[in-house]
Symmetry: C2
Subunit: 884 residues, 2 copies
Amino acid sequence: MKKMIYFFGKNMTEGNASMRMLLGGKGANLAEMASIGLPVPPGFTITTEVCAYFSKNNGVYPDGLKENVEENMKKLENVLRKNFGNKDNPLLVSVRSGAPASMPGMMDTILNLGLNDQTVKGLSKSTNNERFAYDAYRRFIQMYGDVVLHVEHKLFEKVLNSVKSERKIKFDIELNVDDLKRVVKLYKELVKEKTGKDFPEDVQIQLWGAIEAVFKSWNNERAIAYRKIEKIPQDWGTAVNVQSMVFGNMGNDSATGVAFTRNPSTGENYFYGEYLVNAQGEDVVAGIRTPQPININSKTDETQKTLEEIMPQLYKELESYRNILEKHYKDMQDVEFTIEKGKLWMLQTRNGKRTPQASIKIAINLFEEGLIDKKTVVLRVTTKDVDGMLHPMIDPKVKINVLAKGLPASPGAASGRIVFSAKDAVVRKKDENDLILVREETSPEDIVGMNLCNGILTARGGMTSHAAVVARGLGKPCVVGCSDLEIDFEKRIMKIKDRVLKDGDYITIDGSTGRVIEGNVNKVKPELKNEFQKLMEFTDEFKKLEIRANADTPNDAMIARNFGAKGIGLCRTEHMFFGEDRIEAMRYMILSSTSEERRKALEKILPMQREDFVGIFRAMDGYPVVIRTLDPPLHEFLPKEETQIKILASKMGISVDTLQQKIDSLKETNPMLGHRGCRLGISYPEITEMQARAIIEAACIVTREGKKVIPEIMIPLVGNIKELKLQKDLVVETMKKVFKEYGMEIKVLIGTMIELPRAALTAFEIAKEADFFSFGTNDLTQTTLGFSRDDVGPILRTYIDEKKILDNDPFQTLDQVGVGRLIKIAIEDAKKVNPEIEIGVCGEHGGDPASIEFFNKNGFDYVSCSPFRVPVARLAAAQSELRK
Amino acid sequence: MKKMIYFFGKNMTEGNASMRMLLGGKGANLAEMASIGLPVPPGFTITTEVCAYFSKNNGVYPDGLKENVEENMKKLENVLRKNFGNKDNPLLVSVRSGAPASMPGMMDTILNLGLNDQTVKGLSKSTNNERFAYDAYRRFIQMYGDVVLHVEHKLFEKVLNSVKSERKIKFDIELNVDDLKRVVKLYKELVKEKTGKDFPEDVQIQLWGAIEAVFKSWNNERAIAYRKIEKIPQDWGTAVNVQSMVFGNMGNDSATGVAFTRNPSTGENYFYGEYLVNAQGEDVVAGIRTPQPININSKTDETQKTLEEIMPQLYKELESYRNILEKHYKDMQDVEFTIEKGKLWMLQTRNGKRTPQASIKIAINLFEEGLIDKKTVVLRVTTKDVDGMLHPMIDPKVKINVLAKGLPASPGAASGRIVFSAKDAVVRKKDENDLILVREETSPEDIVGMNLCNGILTARGGMTSHAAVVARGLGKPCVVGCSDLEIDFEKRIMKIKDRVLKDGDYITIDGSTGRVIEGNVNKVKPELKNEFQKLMEFTDEFKKLEIRANADTPNDAMIARNFGAKGIGLCRTEHMFFGEDRIEAMRYMILSSTSEERRKALEKILPMQREDFVGIFRAMDGYPVVIRTLDPPLHEFLPKEETQIKILASKMGISVDTLQQKIDSLKETNPMLGHRGCRLGISYPEITEMQARAIIEAACIVTREGKKVIPEIMIPLVGNIKELKLQKDLVVETMKKVFKEYGMEIKVLIGTMIELPRAALTAFEIAKEADFFSFGTNDLTQTTLGFSRDDVGPILRTYIDEKKILDNDPFQTLDQVGVGRLIKIAIEDAKKVNPEIEIGVCGEHGGDPASIEFFNKNGFDYVSCSPFRVPVARLAAAQSELRK
């Protein structure tokens, strides 16, 4: 193994920010901060490679690690002129995890390590504060006991509470030195009782116990779950940072805080943060005490006291570091700091998590400030950010009843039924779709349940609390620190002032404003700001892939166009048949016994279809519109309920039995593989004929209006060139007739969906008859993988979560190995016989960034996705091009 | 266009037997016979290319045809010293179709062409038989009027009958010259009335009308239908043979007949045929008069008069031609001959249609006689022949009631409900499976209906009648000439002696013995004769592909082994679960909520499964046995009927609702793409574990008995290497345990079915973990083509029959372009990473000759098919190898 440990400290730093994979984010940035001259408590980082080795070898350390750690501890002692385990002037350290990707609160941390019955006395002496020393000691035992020795946290709390109640006091702060000594004694007895062993006095044993615990915490359940959601590889491992302790809890001249170099919620360009006087860092992050704003910009109410006010000099120093860090990292930073007896220490810096809105604003602003270039803007903003911008907001036109206000922790509005625990959410998610998780505060084990809810509301915690950080990461609306909230977990109710809401009641939260609103409130999509428009313009400078949208109505087409869609990639004609006025004609058509009857019914549908297409062509003036002929099995159009069947039978003047028989005869064992797609048009050519007529007539009508119409007629579910040929001939014949009737000609492309493996495998034939291919990756995934979308839910749960057979839902992210190979075969073969063929995709995957990367690399001309995914697709296409 | 016409006649013959594609079978063989010196009435053949040109160009002849025909007619006139249209010594010709493949009775023929009011007088004079001349004339008008001028046949019959009833006579033969002249006159009036034109007196117009009619008859409905059944390409075209007439109906020194150089039913080596004195050839083939045997070997009853007896010299001459022809063609010939006033003419020779049994016997005998070699034997016998040998026969142990006896026209026994017309058969086939067509006689338009029935029974006709020839071709049991049969078509009944059977009653026919039997009689497979065994031995000398069988029981395994299967390619374990005693344990297993409960239920199943495998391993001593783990969706095992659900619920001590809920929860929208195959074993590993244990324990037990056991465990529906890996690990783990328990080790292959496109596309991964691939071509066809086998029926009817999108049912004959490409990809990729991998197929296609050809060409080690298809597969594999 290469170098296992990197030291950091003034003028002695071995690592740097680029070594994130090896040193973890925290370690790399501590090294970087130290080397650019920021005051960082010295320490050293054990690499992630050691963790990976440790995990792979069942908890065995690589050779030489012991010696290496000893050497670095020596170095640390020399720098600080303190000695580890020395009873007069003891060195205390923190032992923290630090992975290459941020995993807030997921892994373990030990503070104040190095304290024992001897060194605590030395600490008392050196700090001249016995109470502080014993408080640190009891905190250490509690933390170490919990994390390393696995004595339940609540048992320590019980001991602490028993001492407090004996002494009839309420707050920890009221405990005096003797109380704390008693607590230490009782804690040690507790450890002895539960583990059968004495609490380790030997500081070396303490150190190695902590290192091992951190390494092991990489594989704890919640960390694994978090990595799965965030798609962080499970084999990376965490680094371990052993760092000298500084204390924010040494009195009122001490403090600790967390800050962002810009507002992480709005992206506005000002320093933004929270702090607590006389507290350890954990107190801020855990959300147990509600922190104070560092400056006026961070204030949420007038009564708050800012750091700038109470420690102006130190605040100035902190702000100067903010400027250094932003210039250095060229991105918004999330920093942790501690003030120990008037001395400012920087404990951490990392790229700050931010809301989608902030992400876009910050990137654009940094570009405008000359710190980054356009490419960096496009690559830095994530598709998740863009998606987040399209999150719903409360409809401003709706009257709402605001129950309470909390902190706006993650933007967007969400409604759902109240659920009081993450576990309940997991259970209830099976039957209920809309859930809002309501908690005092969240903790890392809630992660799975949080991900299932529409939004999260907590009574406590700040903008950097667990709930807030995680929700932003998940892109879910979140309101935290809503102090009016009283939760009675036992009774499954919550009170807001005099209002009582129970488990299952609907509420709405607005994560952009912090409002908690009664009931299920109507939501609308947010307005897109200037920065968003700019970002989208930037993407267009880089991307080569065209983005079209799937839209079935003029309205959807308009939305898509406004989002930047350059055409319709899929217009499903069947959706047009479900309207009240049309379904009846459709049913007559289906139930016809002769081609004549069918034609008569179709004649009624023709003008309606034509009208639809007229609207869409008008909306898409100048852009292509791909219209798919009828696709779903006919039984989908027939009534299912007895009453409806009776009504239809009487209208048609046939017996209920006859109708029921006809309906039954259309039922299929595997409808997905049944009589649908072009198979319908082949059995009933008059349907295709009517649709072709409606499309071409509409095209003629809109062309006459002076608009540019570019129709592309798409034949679905083709598996054999003869199918396409038959349908195409029919379309061409109809087209010629209509052109004659209208006395004009328009260019019309005729192509096919490639959604069956056989279509892909015989593309070398099919491409000869097709002006375009549009890959229907939904169906292609169904047949290639043999998964029915309607049934695959439980299988995917087993396959993704339990057995880890699949990394992703293949209906969300394209299976590049299997389905992707078919697509590549099809494109390669098609272009050989028809180099001009247009290639697109119109499945769900058209809006999925990972899949877009694949499409962009493999010769696609465009992707088509739902209108609201168009901006995401634009960004993904640009990023893919830049990454090429 | 190349040479359009080929002349034939003594010393002037231009064509030969190898020109079958160009001259049609009849024309090529007439040329060949003429050139080897047999007495053939001279004539000429217009090529099939002319027909193809004619069809393609909407009935226009190629340039120069007219002149060519004229030249050849001149030649013919010169040879015969007669003149076409000459009133003193007129040349009469027949104009007959003759396609490259035999299509008996499907196309048109005109005889006696060249007669008109003038030439008929010449014919009277030259034959010195006025009655004959006018009889020929009226026959010509009738035939030409029907075929060329489209005046309905029955109208001519009506005229004829009216004359007969006027004259109070019963038979045609009783009509005198005046009667016939009157008939001619009335026929001409009928033609004038119906067509508005005079019957053509101009013999050139007659000739060209006939040629055109023959060309057009290539595309008549029944010809198209026949070619579809027989898989004859629709674009070949027919040749036209214009041949000088000879007459078998010129008195009692004339005759006409049909003969086979060996018995076409049994294959026995003797001359076999039928003849009619004073008759035209059509009279024999049409089955209107029952013909007489040519010799003693052809006799079916003692009262018959043979040709050998009545014309011994001519018979001897005929027999000498028989010997020349067999030596020349090296195959059994089907010849037509005519004796005109004591002179023997050979009108046709062709390879004779024969029963499967005869086919095999003749081929083996010809080999033994030194006429052909082994390769020719193997290539000449068809897979259909071998299949025919495996046709059922009446169970000899069953007591039967023989109602009547007819001629054994096509072997095998069949039962079914009586249907009195081919049209009815088409209609009723939709609901009924077993039909026997019962007719006076059949005609070409019955072909579609005949193909739908299990067997055919006719009251009239001989061994070479339409019904007999077609049935043999179709491989369907057939009894003809059952003269005890009286059919009342109107009343839809038939009488056999005093027994009345009505439409829909069950009867059984035995086409090997000619028996007609009451009711639905039990049938057994025929015993295989020596020649069959020899043929099978020959195949083994050439084939490289191994043949295994699909068998789920020791009994099936034994049958397969006796048929020459070299192993089991697919043993479906689920079939074992449907037994009365097992289904309950299975249901408990499925309805278990916990892995524990499931294990308990599985423990009950284990010993039963083990016993099954013990039996199969014993039967397959020395050969591999591929066992597939549980495959079908679990809901298939649960009760469907209310009563059964109630019983099960009460047995299990749960409520009906709970049970119903569980059953409902297992229902799927597309079960074919649902929770089945290895997905079951992945969700419930304990099932795979139990099955692996049962297999390995059985293998150990049978090995201990001193037998050689070669188990191959097959994981179904794998689409991802991780699925296979998980299941394989489980099997290996169980295997190790069992080996330890039994203190022994056996080599076990573990492989997978390739039945999903993704499995084929990722074979480069999957092959790393698989000892073998077995292509499940049924499912692979379903997913690749997007066809559900359960629903595809109506679609295939449209696709194959109506729209001609597909040539074959892709579930019967492998889609080589699409599915085949996937298979090739999979094999190529698999062998790259695992050169030793064993490749097999276990879908229906494993027994289909065309598909076997593909498998043999593409690197398969074996095919597996149903036990009764094993001989077919052996022959197909050998033929494929020889054709390479």
